[in-house]
Symmetry: D2
Subunit: 405 residues, 4 copies
């Protein structure tokens, strides 16, 4: 069928990717290397080893990528206050380039000539995995079984397992009807009743957060410290990037924070309903804007805001590993060396409320801003000239009879 | 002092603008026309008549502008999902161009050659009033007493009242220490303890909303219907623009919704702390994005998002009456004829949660989006070519050794 | 092979599309409708009728689309001062949406269920044709023979002609080695020695213009009048859109104007060398900017400039028939009602030199701009306040020790 | 009059700034430090020393800033293909921040508390000088005599010279009626008959270039080499930045290249006519685009194009020393490490014609781009999927009856 000799598979240890591993061995008659990553999805990754071994896999990679994920992907993205289509914090999107990078690194280490993944042909993830792979190793072959095979139903998959002696784990309790993805930044839900945008999600769908109704009646206050635009401490205690994400996920989730329910536009062309829980991200986005509000120059802030939708689109569409994303990142990062200081937050039943911000790099100048006597810090008469010259072009046009009503 | 014969004054009936009226009569020896507008600030405007009469004003304009304000200013702005610096819904900014417009219309009707306002020389409002005035009547003179006179303290103002027999109304209860502004869209607070961004606002500052803690324990569900991008009905009952604002302010405010506490960048160059209550606006922004999410084309939506920060900046800076705002409005409005349908919302203790959206103009195609069999609506094999060609430039660069890590 | 019954073919009458017509009849066993358009390419279109008849075609459309092309496609595009990648005036790109539109109109008239075109699988034109077709008739089938068949060499095409009795016209003289496309806006050259970007084009390649060296030693002066942003008269004589294009092509081409030689980035992912002659377009772009320079507000002009690259990209990529192009067009057109007046130009050996512009809508105010005494039209003291407030944020930052060097 | 003790004056040695020096000594009773820079304006700067001494100046700075100007200001700006309002290469604008920087450096060295300049209150230069000064030394005082004094005519200036024994140099020949500015990048002309935009400039106004008519009948070919986006060699010979500018000014000027005649929008609000000669800049802009055309990724190039108008506006308006300019510069510079290679140009009677480009970093892939057999480098069938998915949203909309015509 092809000249592929060895393929690195993004392997979760679950049913689908186990079938894929076997299918690759069978259909492509090639060696399979499995790669399983801990990105903070909240499930053990080590069990994937035994499953891979049971499939006869010889080269098994199991990596804890949580710190790298938070530090080199999530935090840089949050420097831009990134949000897709006004609502989505890009929890799935931002994890994909790291997986692509590791797939390619492992392909290079093991001499593999192909990679494979378990994303379907309708979603954004296939695009993200493959754009990343091609950008980092242009000659790589990509195998996307869901676009190739005819195992397009649960029944066929199960039959395939039977036929090929793939052990199917019986999960306890009812299987979730949703398609889900999780990492340090979020957990996502798609499919089932969500396919009608008029349906409200069922309350037992959400796994990471309580509902605002169930959240505590007393607020939680906390202070996040930023350095160079990144969060570095909670309540004065320095923590690693992944630890910050994990702690905030717990605290914010317990306060009913971070649920999003949207219809989004996929890069492959259709609209799709997605529900997300992003507790830590929701807090960090608010906090980062707050610390920027006192430390960042106005025009730098506005320029960042105007570039953000493009930057978000690039990440959503899978162009993390691209020259244009690097361009924007350079612009964003250029501004962050002064984004230092503390933001005090109140978390309460779904609300993230900024109640204070301070910084040694603050540009907030009480002497100028005050309604009281400013002792000459600002000359109000300057405003007249400022307005007059800004109005000049408008007056000239109005004199020519231009109607702006 | 000047050749000004008649001036139209934006007159609230309060102490400051009463002093200004007298001061204009005295210093400029000119006739004063007062203009008082009901923009939904929640206070009676009719009492301003007697106060103006007491000052000897002969031409008194008192206008109910609530419908015009909501219909021609607030709603067009919300079509763009407008938000300044990620947080501020522009409640004050959007009212200023309407006031400018009426000041100029009245100047034209009464043959006045000048306008006057009570905004200070440090704020944005002077800019907004004056840019609007100059754009609509290029030869108009503008008098901004706060930039001219030396009555720069409460004491001097009171002394001036005494001296000129201006009646000072004793408000019941403690006078608010905050500088405030209100209209259908919001009420704002500045000054006093807010001048330190590390201070949390005191709970009794907020006037329009209860705190999330005090909000009811049961959520309120409601459905907003949109037509051509504007809200037209609540729970199936058609209402006028101002009525929609008023009702939503009540309902949302009662659910603890719409408080914002930020440090913002003023056009005149300094950072300033502002607190705002925007109950209806917070609900409408969320609802408008939700109805757009199913009805708007992806690229139109993204283009809108990329233009929005500029559009928000224009409104904030006072350029409503400008060719560039009209350009952007034309682009935005071009997209809204399909933004029709219903959004179901859940309001609960500060949260605005979208729980459903539907539209006859929906572009959400369940047949394509489904995780189930789509009966050929979407050919997954198309994705391979899509990805391959989108990756081509990246692969070419990688082959040349370009490093994107 | 398919259930296609009738296909509308974009038919030039040349060898390639004649083979396609036969191939469609044979391979798809379907009826073929031919559509041949006069877009100003400079060749007779009527001869296509006999050729189509010889192929047994019963429904033959031959349309003179020159006026529609100039008026509804070229001129709207020029309102934006559109230029792709700093150099390319989009001569081919802007013709494609009109052809798509007519293909679909004819498909609707004739009850055809498919369209076909002769563009290759490597170029932009396939994308432009097909995006347009799908946008205007979503259920249409598109046949792109060059992506399907194996007639991928001159020899195979000729053999096919022999086999199927397709008459091959012997052109007089040497056949051009270049792939060419022409319409009222330009003629293009690709392929052959141009495939090495270090090669200078041979002088006999260019067909529409003389070289600057060969152009007359005396300049040509002419005046173009604009109305609502579109050219309407030359030297005071009103002319139709297509006539303006034709005349300017002649005059400018005779003065060595309009040659472009670039490497451009195709939408399908590769870089390609293209040479173009765009005599009229080069003149009109310069003239349009000149008339805008005195009539357009500064901020509207700058906003147009910032939107132009996106607008150009949309047209280049084939998204003329898209909501986002319509959005941008609405913004652009909003500005053009004041773009009226005359531009005097000097054409000389490749140069287009603006030597004068005037307009009843001119915003150029000599009274203000003058270096001489302006009699108070502009108060130089206003500049101080203007600068001071614009500098305020920079000073505040500098006081905090921010280093901008 | 003030508490200013020492002021650094941007001093040309000409009449105006000599009067200013004296006026500062007299009116402000302060010590004056003169600063005269060689920016390549083509006049000796050393004579300014004697004139300053004659005025009693004790601290005299005369700097050759040509290399710094070309290397750190002109070249970084050209990396962005910067052009203001489609025509102006920013020759004056880009020199101002360097002068501001030196004024402030000298103020710091000499303990001066103020700077002064000879720009008028109507132009952009005052803004550029002062924004730069405030950004680099926030407490500096700025004296702009033209905005303060009443010496607002030639006669009054001459009378002042008489009164204060300022020696007025009699220039040979007729004094130019134009207001001029020159440096390595350009020479500019404003005023006099140019104040009517319908007037063609007189042929004897232009000083740096011959007219196309007078240029040689034989073209000049030359090759410019780029490294990291900057020109480094001409015809294979490495040269310093200033030398490159000087040589190209001569060669291009001799070929009639670089004249621009426009109406531009000043930051202070009015339209103004300006004529410019920018020989080297015109060549470099063309050459830089050409080398980018083969080395730069498409999306990086398009992003640069979309950011350029903003970047140009910042420089024009005087915001070189600003966080937002640094942001954009970071983005631009990020892309330039691959912009290496050679561009071959033909200069002929006003035309700059690119006739070849080559680079070891070229992304032009002949194997893919070729019209000939590409041996599988590009799979034309990929285009179908590419188009289908890009069309999906358009088809979905069309199915809902959306009309894009």
């Amino acid at each position: 069928m092809s000249d592929i000799k060895k393929v690195v598979l993004a392997y979760s240890g679950g049913l689908d990717t186990s079938v894929i591993a076997k299918w690759l061995q069978t259909e492509y008659n090639c060696e399979v290397v499995t790669f399983t990553a801990d990105l903070g999805q909240g499930e053990e990754v080590e069990p994937a080893r035994a499953k891979a071994e049971a499939l006869g896999i010889k080269e098994i990679y199991i990596d804890d990528l949580r710190e790298e994920f938070a530090r080199d992907f999530v935090f840089p993205m949050f420097r831009a206050n990134t949000i897709y289509e006004g609502e989505y914090l890009l929890g799935t999107s931002i994890a994909r380039p790291l997986i692509s990078k590791r797939l390619i690194e492992i392909a290079n280490e093991t001499g593999a000539d192909a990679i494979a993944h378990g994303a379907t042909g309708k979603g954004n993830d296939q695009v993200r995995f493959e754009l990343g792979a091609y950008a980092l190793k242009p000659g790589v072959k990509v195998i996307a079984p869901w676009r190739e095979w005819d195992l397009n139903s649960r029944e066929k998959l199960m039959a395939y397992c039977d036929e090929h002696n793939i052990q199917v784990e019986k999960k306890k309790g009812k299987k979730s009807p949703y398609s889900m993805d999780a990492n340090l930044l979020h957990i996502s839900y798609e499919g089932d009743i969500l396919e009608d945008p008029w349906n409200e999600p069922e309350s037992d769908m959400w796994l990471w957060s309580v509902s605002p109704e169930e959240a505590p009646n007393d607020p939680t206050y906390l202070t996040i410290s930023f350095k160079n635009g990144d969060p570095v401490a909670i309540d004065g205690v320095e923590k690693s990037p992944a630890t910050i994400m994990e702690e905030l996920n717990k605290t914010a989730g317990a306060n009913g924070i971070g649920r999003v329910d949207i219809v989004e536009n996929r890069y492959v062309g259709m609209k799709a309903r997605g529900c997300y829980e992003t507790p830590a991200g929701t807090v960090l986005l608010k906090a980062h804007r707050a610390i920027e509000s006192i430390t960042l120059d106005r025009e730098a802030a506005h320029l960042k805001d105007s570039l953000m939708p493009k930057y978000a689109e690039l990440i959503y569409n899978g162009y993390w590993w691209s020259p244009e994303r690097k361009m924007l990142q350079a612009a964003i990062d250029e501004t962050q060396s002064v984004v230092n200081g503390d933001v005090k937050l109140k978390l309460y039943k779904g609300n993230v409320i900024v109640v204070g911000r301070k910084s040694d790099d603050s540009l907030f100048d009480e002497a100028i801003a005050t309604f009281e006597d400013d002792a000459g810090a600002y000359d109000q008469k300057d405003a007249e000239g400022f307005i007059k010259l800004n109005a000049l072009r408008l007056r000239t046009a109005a004199k020519k009879g231009r109607d702006l009503l």
